[in-house]
């Protein structure tokens, strides 16, 4: 089967061309660097079955990072190259074209985003460009599908040119300059509303308040989507499931297996939040409580990416993240982590170095409360007053920054600086957004749900055989002294190691003072994310780094808990 490879700079709609050709489901993104892996698909073009590979975006064929290495590798497999070029940025894109031409493979060039070029006053003489490069050139608007039919019909025209000379890098730029001047005419247009908006959103003094408003609006939307999905979709579904679960409970009868699968029957019925069985709470928490918000977060992320706002947000937040040993990209794990730490930890993959990934994942598990953790904080402290809830969140935010500052100094390795292109604002396509959100949610389910189930199973076994209580008894004298809270509360804290929900149930009836409750809740939030997050961390960081990260989390929790004890408990 013939292989066609799509090559081009990052962020120019290459993936959209790909999905136009294959009709396959792919993620298209406006944010540089989100597609490290490449995508393949099949298509029938002009009666011939072909395989099409979408290589990661690259600026040149001398790789500077992992994604570009993959691109070079993938290029080697292709018999025909489709070079996707950003028509609004011809000169810069031609460097890769020149390098590709030297590979002496049949090549066809796609001038994508033709409409955007037109709008910004750029006119390119396609015929002349063909003459200069001696390859077929097709103008397209991949988002609407314009020009794709012509691309397919002209694939056969791409022929290898053997008598092409190899130019040095300097000569290439000279040649590119010559070609661009000849084929491209730029009419200066008055700055559009979008470009003035672009400036306002990236300058520190106007951009920061706008960013705060966008973030606020985003969280509000996420909450709306999450609550809506719960009320109108997930709650009704779980009510449908209830009779089945009750039937399983009756079939099993009392015993260890019942405790494991169904858990406690409360007032003659299953309580999805408190029963704690694998088939009750075990599926309700991930599917009925966390998933709706994950859908909301992924949808919001897709909107931020495809509108072009995310790189601006990364620029504005770089100041903070750079000091914490990461850079502006690190806002993505933080943002997703507030929904659920699992997708947050998965997204640390997009940071370049080990140091950055380690810091991002550690801070995530330590101080970024997911939906379930936040619900716990509200649930425990809400009755004491909102001020105490705020105190815990403020403590978490301070720990995020302080631990980041320390880790930046303490962790060896490099943290490269931010260096990214700011794409123009674009109106996101509704179908593209929905498709992307769906792809990611599906990916999340496939990646995380098995770990979640395994985790709940493992933890349930450890609790049922009494292992966790045994651990709790060993450590409780020290914790009782260090945190100045009663023994039962310490047991709750230690039992809550991997099961915060369980700990909440144990803390509430103790009638602690507000200060003690704040200390207990803060420590509970700080030390350790859920088992599923740990599993993902092992996958992304390796076992050793995950253990190091866990040690940092446990130590920080104890230190912060101790400090708060002196501040809050007399």
């Amino acid at each position: 089967m013939k292989r066609i490879v799509l090559m081009g700079n990052p962020n120019i709609g290459k993936s959209v061309v790909f999905s136009r050709l294959t009709g396959a489901e792919v993620i298209t993104s406006n944010y540089p660097g989100t597609t490290v892996d490449f995508t393949r698909g099949r298509a029938r073009l002009q009666g011939e079955q072909v395989e099409i590979i979408d290589a990661p975006g690259t600026y040149s064929l001398q790789p500077t990072n992992r994604a570009e290495e993959v691109a070079l590798e993938v290029l080697g497999w292709g018999e025909l190259v489709i070079n996707v070029v950003d028509a609004t940025n011809l000169e810069r894109n031609l460097f890769l074209t020149m390098e590709l031409l030297e590979k002496k493979k049949p090549l066809i060039m796609v001038l994508n985003m033709w409409d955007e070029a037109d709008r910004s006053g750029i006119a390119i003489d396609v015929k002349r460009l063909e003459e200069h490069l001696r390859v077929p050139v097709v103008a397209t608007v991949a988002l609407t599908g314009e020009g794709i039919a012509e691309l397919v019909s002209r694939l056969g025209e791409a022929q290898p040119l053997l008598e092409r000379e190899t130019l040095s890098e300097e000569k290439k730029w000279v040649e590119i300059g010559r070609i661009t001047r000849d084929v491209q005419k730029v009419t200066h247009k008055h700055p559009t509303l979008w470009s003035s908006l672009s400036e306002a959103t990236i300058k520190p003094f106007t951009g920061t308040p706008i960013a705060l408003m966008v973030i606020f609006a985003t969280f509000w939307t996420v909450r709306l989507i999450g609550e809506g999905l719960i009320a109108y979709l997930f709650e009704p579904l779980f009510e449908l499931y209830r009779p089945l679960a009750m039937k399983i409970s009756a079939e099993l009868g009392p015993g260890m297996l019942h405790d494991l699968l169904i858990g406690r029957i409360i007032d003659g019925n299953i309580d999805y939040v408190q029963s704690m069985g694998l088939l009750t709470t075990g599926i309700y928490v991930p599917l009925g409580m966390v998933l709706p918000y994950i859908v909301g977060f992924y949808l919001a992320l897709a909107l931020l990416e495809d509108s072009g706002y995310l790189p601006r947000l990364a620029t504005l937040s770089d100041n903070l993240f750079h000091r914490l040993g990461m850079h502006g990209h690190a806002i993505v794990p933080l943002f997703l982590g507030l929904g659920c730490n699992v997708p947050g930890a998965l997204s640390t993959r997009n940071l370049e170095t080990r140091k950055q990934r380690f810091i991002a994942a550690t801070l995530l598990g330590l101080a970024v409360p997911c939906t379930a953790k936040s619900a716990m904080i509200f649930g425990v402290l809400g009755s004491y007053g909102q001020g105490y809830v705020f105190l815990v969140f403020a403590a978490l935010a301070m720990v995020y920054v302080a631990a980041g500052l320390v880790l930046n100094k303490a962790v060896r390795g490099e943290s490269p600086e931010i260096f990214l292109e700011i794409p123009p604002y674009r109106r996101p396509g509704v179908m593209v957004i929905l498709k992307k959100t769906w792809m990611r949610v599906r990916w999340f389910l496939a990646e995380a749900i098995p770990f979640l189930f395994l985790g709940v199973l493992l933890v349930n076994v450890l609790y049922t055989v009494g292992f966790m209580e045994w651990i709790a008894r060993i450590f409780s004298p020290f914790m009782e002294w260090w945190l100045a809270i009663p023994g039962e509360a310490v047991v709750a804290l230690l039992v809550g190691f991997f099961r915060k929900d369980l700990a909440v149930g144990m803390l509430l009836p103790l009638g602690l003072e507000a200060g003690q409750m704040v200390v207990a809740t803060t420590v509970l939030s700080l030390y350790f994310p859920c088992v599923a997050t740990f599993a993902v961390m092992v996958k992304e960081l390796g076992v050793m780094d995950t253990l190091r990260s866990a040690a940092v989390m446990a130590m920080t929790a104890l230190m912060v808990g101790g400090a708060m004890r002196w501040a809050l408990i007399r």
């Binding site: 600026y59 990236i202 300058k203 990364a314 100041n319 931010i418 260096f419 292109e421 123009p424």
Partner: protein, 78 residues
């Protein structure tokens, strides 16, 4: 006069004179992102507290960390 782009204020236009810094791969990356000798650019924003710079080159904006920006030598245009 040649100076690093970090010493310019927001709104200043300049021409790139030279790229300093280690290795040809670093310089190639700058060049392929559009930052080349002879190119005209405008500083759009300078983020305070040693934050990143945003420059505009032929209508396209690029965010650069301070350390990267320090390696770009320019001459200010009136």
């Amino acid at each position: 006069m040649q100076e690093p782009i970090t010493s310019l204020r927001a709104g200043t236009s300049a021409q790139v004179i030279a790229l300093l810094g280690p290795g040809s791969s670093f310089q190639r990356k700058l060049r392929t992102m559009g930052i080349r000798e002879g190119v005209r650019l405008k500083v759009v924003a300078v983020h305070p507290f040693a934050g990143p710079l945003v420059v505009e080159i032929s209508g396209r904006q690029i965010t650069l960390g301070r350390g990267i920006a320090r390696k770009i030598m320019v001459r200010v245009e009136d």
